[in-house]
């Protein structure tokens, strides 16, 4: 009975996700694009969740891996170097390069935890961004602050992701194609995440998060397991970055500022560290709320007061910030916490 209910729910959710872009498309292609970026944020959050949620390593420079993936894609599929590789070759390369970057960050920080680790990762994120900004001299690799333009969209056979095609009388625009592609990637990433969580590796991450010395004494190779968390999280970031570059058609260093790292971390924490569905929910809410506010703040003021009292941009961030503070005040463990993280807040240790 319960399984049947679950299955019906799943089919309904699946159908909703399948027709979603067409419904949103009626309100404007912009909303499909916003949805695509929301899914990218979900992918990023799931990647960061491995590092922060599972292994308990506070990473404030996660966007650097997204940047690495995006630049790998941009440089291998644009007129900048005149290289035009297909996406299914570049995405794995991007993941691999990001994975290496993850280990480069992980190796020297193995002994650090908490605030110290946060500071180092923050520095790492900035280093990557500044590199992208300055690697235009003496050899022009990244094209500096101007960024890389005219990045190739995805191509699958005759289907070009930048153009609108008509299938069976249905107009399928570029963003809608990316939406479906992202949806497939998202499902794969969720399955991988779930597998990881229930695996031996997942248990080792939990142990390290709880007490590193005890984990080591229990026979866990804490060094390798921590490096693995960094590497896996970074790979997911790299893949998301590649898709970001293709969807956007343009990358520049300013897409990868510290604010973005903090945003992704906020999604993980707000949603519920360690719980896949919580993280998904957190990312979707935080990606959509600012956009919804963007379109509603001004009309709402006009309707209420007849004129714009507060700058929409200011008010938008004010509402957004207050919403974050209130959520953390009333749901400190996030919307949908992992049971183990929840225990920290709900059952304080009694001595």
């Amino acid at each position: 009975m319960n399984m049947l209910k679950g299955r019906v729910g799943l089919i309904m959710l699946g159908t909703a996700l399948l027709i979603l872009p067409f419904v949103l498309g009626m309100a404007g292609t912009a909303w499909v694009r916003i949805t695509n970026f929301a899914v990218l944020y979900v992918l990023l959050s799931l990647g960061l969740n491995i590092v922060v949620g599972y292994a308990g390593l506070l990473d404030l420079g996660y966007i650097a891996f997204f940047a690495v993936g995006a630049y790998v894609y941009a440089l291998l599929a644009s007129p900048h170097f005149g290289i035009h590789l297909p996406f299914w070759i570049i995405l794995p390369i991007g993941a691999f390069v990001a994975c290496i970057a993850g280990m480069v960050l992980g190796a020297p920080t193995l002994r650090l935890r908490g605030d110290y680790l946060a500071i180092v990762t923050l520095g790492f994120g900035e280093i990557v961004r500044i590199f992208m900004n300055n690697l235009s001299n003496p050899i022009n690799i990244t094209n500096g602050p101007k960024g890389v333009n005219l990045i190739d969209p995805f191509h699958i056979g005759p289907i070009n992701f930048a153009k609108t095609d008509t299938f069976a009388g249905l107009d399928v625009s570029g963003p809608i194609k990316y939406y479906y592609f992202l949806l497939v990637v998202l499902m794969v990433v969720i399955v991988i995440n779930r597998r990881l969580q229930d695996s031996r590796i997942g248990r080792a991450w939990v142990a390290i998060r709880e007490d590193e010395m005890a984990a080591k004494a229990a026979g866990i190779n804490t060094r390798n397991i921590k490096l693995l968390a960094f590497a896996m999280g970074a790979s997911f970031g790299g893949i998301s970055g590649g898709m970001f570059a293709a969807i956007q058609g343009f990358v520049s260093p300013e897409s990868f500022i510290l604010n973005e790292s903090i945003m992704v971390l906020a999604m993980v924490v707000l949603g519920g560290m360690g719980n896949i569905w919580g993280v998904v929910a957190g990312a979707i809410v935080l990606a959509f709320v600012p956009e919804v506010l963007r379109y509603t703040v001004e009309p709402a003021q006009m309707a209420l007061f007849g004129r714009t009292l507060v700058e929409p941009e200011v008010l938008r961030m004010l509402i957004f910030g207050s919403a974050l503070v209130l959520t953390m005040r009333f749901r400190p463990a996030g919307f949908w916490p992992e049971t183990r993280h929840k225990r920290e807040f709900i059952e304080p240790a009694e001595k």
Binding site: N221, R340, E347, E350
Partner: protein, 237 residues
């Protein structure tokens, strides 16, 4: 003829420029129960951490006929060397059962692991009553029992115990030491680090006294208990 299970030769530990342990040598023989007593900061915990390869040291450590001063710490449980860290180091947000299972992380024999969990519960019935409870909600004494139980899940031949009495009420301390004695009776060799000198010397056959990074006395418990220096410094007489 008893044989040495673990032996340290000229063990030195430095934290930055500070020498915490200044070239000590000692031995624990198979089946023995030995304690290391001394005041705060004498280097006892550092010594134990070095044996478990949690901190770097110089000198030699021989364990079961093998040099281990350079091997990675996480491999030692496979060799039968288990550490119960100072301050217990339980996984506070995992349940009792999950904590115990984590102690068998390096093992793959699922059925045997389950049997061992039951065996540990048999030794520590207080834990059995709370098996699905989160470890962080246990009392200090119960957490200590859990830490010992988790170490036993690795089926150790040598158990390194770091201050199991720390922060516990006298009644609880007695219970913990009963458990320790029980473990020893099952053939596990024990090296116990304690500030509570009387208790430690009462249950151990031999003891080492550490003072500012050096071993100053080494003898059987009876001799140490009668030694005026020990009586004055550690037994409060």
């Amino acid at each position: 003829m008893a044989q040495a299970l673990i032996e340290a030769l000229n063990l030195e530990i430095h934290y930055g420029g500070i020498a915490a342990v200044k070239g000590i040598s000692f031995v624990v023989e198979k089946g023995e129960m030995v304690c290391m007593i001394g005041a705060n900061g004498a280097g006892k915990t550092s010594t134990l951490k070095a044996l478990a390869r949690m901190v770097d040291c110089s000198g030699e450590i021989h364990y079961a006929g093998e040099r281990i001063e350079k091997v990675p710490g996480h491999t030692l449980i496979r060799k039968g060397l288990a550490l119960v860290p100072e301050g217990r180091g339980i996984f506070a947000r995992l349940t009792i059962t999950e904590n115990l299972a984590m102690g068998a992380y390096h093992r793959n024999d699922k059925l045997e692991i389950e049997a061992d969990i039951e065996r540990v519960f048999g030794m520590l019935p207080r834990l059995k009553e709370r098996e699905h409870q989160v470890a962080g909600t246990l009392s200090g004494g119960e957490q200590q029992m859990l830490a010992i139980g988790r170490a036993l899940m690795g089926r150790p031949t040598l158990l390194l115990l770091d201050e199991p009495s720390m922060g516990l009420s006298p009644i609880m301390v007695d219970k913990i030491f009963e458990v320790v004695r029980d473990v020893a009776a099952r053939g596990v060799t024990i090296l116990l680090v304690e500030q509570n000198a009387r208790l430690a010397l009462d249950i151990c056959s031999r003891g080492y006294v550490m003072e500012s990074g050096k071993i100053t006395l080494a003898d059987t418990s009876d001799v140490l208990l009668a030694d005026p220096r020990v009586r004055a410094a550690y037994l409060g007489e």
